[in-house]
C-alpha cells in the first residue's frame, strides 16, 4: 500500500469536511443567520447612524464574525461526534498534525466564505464611509481569521474530549485570542475611517499567526490522541 503524504492527508480531511458542509450547509446557514442577527441587534443597541461606524465599526464587524466563527469551530469536531468517527480519525495512519491541519483548512475556508457573504451586508447596513480601504480590511480578515481558525481548531479538538464542549470552547479561545482580536479590531477601524496607522497591528497579527500556528502544530499530539 502506498503511504499518503502529510499534505495529501490534510487535503483529504479538508475536502471531506468541506464536502459535508456543502451538502448540509448546516454551519454556513446557522452562522450566517447568527452573525446577521448580531449586526441587527447592534444597530438597535447603539443608535445606528454613520457615526457609529466611524466610532466602533471595527469592533462591531468582528464581534459578529467572532460569534459566527465560534459556531463553525464548535461544529468542526461536533461532526466527528457521531458513529465514533473521531476514533476513526485517530487510528488512521496519519500524523495528528496533518489531521489538525486539514480540519483547520476547512474551518478557515468556511469562516472566510461567511465573511465574504456578510461584509457587503455590513457595508450597506452601517453605511461605511466612501474612503474605507476595503483592500486593507480584506487583508486584516485573512490574517485575523487565520488566528481564530488556528487556535479555534486546536481548542475545538481539546474540547472534543470534555463534557460541556460548546461552553468550554469560547472560554478557552477568547482569552488566548485577546491580542489577535485587539489587532483585528484596531486595524479594521483604521481602514474604515482612514485615520491612524494599521501597520503595527498587521505585524502583530502576522507574528501571532506564526507563533500559534507553530505551537498548535507542535502540540497536535497532545489534543488528538486516544487513551
Amino acid at each position: 500500500m502506498r503511504e499518503l503524504g502529510e499534505w495529501r492527508i490534510a487535503a483529504a480531511v479538508c475536502a471531506r469536511d468541506l464536502r459535508i458542509e456543502l451538502r448540509t450547509r448546516e454551519a454556513l446557514l446557522a452562522m450566517g443567520f447568527y452573525a446577521l442577527l448580531v449586526m441587527v441587534i447592534f444597530s438597535f443597541a447603539f443608535s445606528s447612524d454613520a457615526s457609529l461606524t466611524l466610532r466602533a465599526g471595527g469592533g462591531l464587524l468582528w464581534v459578529a464574525f467572532l460569534f459566527a466563527a465560534l459556531v463553525a469551530l464548535d461544529r468542526a469536531f461536533l461532526r466527528e461526534a457521531g458513529e465514533s468517527s473521531l476514533v476513526g480519525l485517530q487510528i488512521a495512519p496519519a500524523s495528528r498534525a496533518a489531521i489538525l491541519a486539514g480540519k483547520f483548512a476547512a474551518s478557515y475556508a468556511i469562516i472566510l466564505g461567511l465573511e465574504a457573504l456578510l461584509m457587503p451586508l455590513f457595508a450597506v447596513l452601517f453605511n461605511t464611509p466612501r474612503r474605507a480601504d476595503w483592500g486593507g480590511i480584506i487583508i486584516t480578515a485573512l490574517l485575523g481569521t487565520w488566528a481564530l481558525a488556528a487556535n479555534g481548531t486546536y481548542f475545538s479538538a481539546m474540547c472534543a474530549h470534555t463534557r460541556q464542549r460548546a461552553l468550554l470552547l469560547p472560554l478557552l479561545l477568547l482569552p488566548v485570542s485577546i491580542p489577535a482580536i485587539l489587532a483585528m479590531v484596531q486595524a479594521t477601524q483604521v481602514y474604515l475611517t482612514g485615520e491612524g496607522m494599521a501597520n503595527y497591528w498587521l505585524q502583530l497579527l502576522i507574528g501571532y499567526d506564526v507563533i500559534f500556528t507553530v505551537l498548535a502544530w507542535a502540540l497536535a499530539d497532545m489534543v488528538l490522541d486516544i487513551e
Binding site: 468550554l168 472560554l171 485587539l182 507563533i211
Partner: protein, 235 residues
C-alpha cells in the same frame, strides 16, 4: 514513618516562620511605613497589592514551567505542581484585582480603567480560571493532565504578546517602583515595608503551593491504590 504533623517536621517550622513574617509585615504596613503625602492612608493598600501580584506571577510561572516539564517528561509530580501553581496564582490574582480598584477609586476617581496592566491582569484571571474549568470538565485519567499542560503552554506563550499589544493600546497604571527608571523609587521606610511584605507574601505563596502539591500527589496515590484494589478484587 514520616509524620507531617510532628513538630520535628521541617515544614512546620517553615509555616511558623511564614506566620511570623506575616505579623512583622503587618506592623510595617500599618504602622512602620510613613503615611504617603498626597494619597494618605489608602496608599498602604500598595503593600498588599504589589506583593500579591509578585506572588501571583511567581505561582503562574511555576505553572508554566511545570506544564512544559509535563509535556516533555509526563511526570505526575509536574502535573501536581502545575495544578498547585494555577490555583494559588489565581487566588493571588483575585487579591490583586480586588485591592486595585479599592485604591483606584479615591486616587484615580474611577474603579477601573482599561489600561495595559489592568486589562492583562483581568485577561490572565480569565485564562487561569478557564484552565481550572478545563481540568474540572475533563474526565480523570491520563487525558486530563495532558490537555491542561497543552493549554498552559498556550497561555504562557500568549501572555507576553498580550502585554505588548495592550501596551500599544493604552497605559495609565503607575510605573514600577522596583527596577523602574531613575525617577522611580520609594521613601526608605516604605521600601522596607514593601520588601518585608513581598517576602511574607512569597512565603505564603510557597507554603500554599507546597501544601496543594502534596495534596495532589496524595490524591494521585490514593487513586492508584483504589484501582489496584479493584483489580485485586476482580481477579
Amino acid at each position: 514513618m514520616a509524620s507531617t504533623s510532628s513538630l520535628r517536621s521541617p515544614s512546620t517550622w517553615v509555616f511558623a516562620a511564614t506566620l511570623g513574617l506575616l505579623i512583622v509585615s503587618l506592623w510595617w504596613n500599618l504602622i512602620g511605613a510613613p503615611t504617603e503625602a498626597t494619597m494618605g492612608t489608602i496608599q498602604r493598600i500598595f503593600y498588599y497589592h504589589v506583593p500579591s501580584a509578585a506572588a501571583a506571577w511567581t505561582a503562574l510561572l511555576l505553572n508554566a514551567g511545570a506544564s512544559l516539564w509535563y509535556l516533555i517528561r509526563r511526570s505526575p509530580a509536574a502535573d501536581a505542581l502545575a495544578v498547585a501553581g494555577a490555583e494559588v496564582g489565581l487566588a493571588f490574582l483575585t487579591i490583586v484585582l480586588i485591592t486595585g480598584p479599592i485604591w483606584a477609586r479615591p486616587v484615580w476617581g474611577v474603579w477601573w480603567v482599561w489600561d495595559a496592566r489592568l486589562t492583562l491582569t483581568l485577561a490572565m484571571w480569565v485564562m487561569y480560571a478557564s484552565y481550572l474549568i478545563l481540568r474540572q470538565l475533563t474526565p480523570p485519567g491520563s487525558l486530563q493532565p495532558r490537555l491542561a499542560a497543552a493549554l498552559a503552554v498556550f497561555f504562557a506563550a500568549d501572555i507576553p504578546i498580550d502585554y505588548m499589544s495592550i501596551r500599544w493600546w493604552r497605559t495609565q497604571h503607575p510605573s514600577p517602583v522596583l527596577f523602574g527608571g531613575p525617577d522611580s523609587g520609594l521613601a526608605p521606610r516604605m521600601m522596607t515595608a514593601l520588601l518585608i511584605s513581598m517576602a511574607a507574601f512569597l512565603a505564603v505563596m510557597g507554603c500554599l503551593v507546597w501544601l496543594r502539591y502534596r495534596q495532589e500527589m496524595a490524591r494521585g496515590r490514593l487513586a492508584a491504590l483504589r484501582q489496584r484494589q479493584l483489580l485485586l478484587e476482580e481477579s
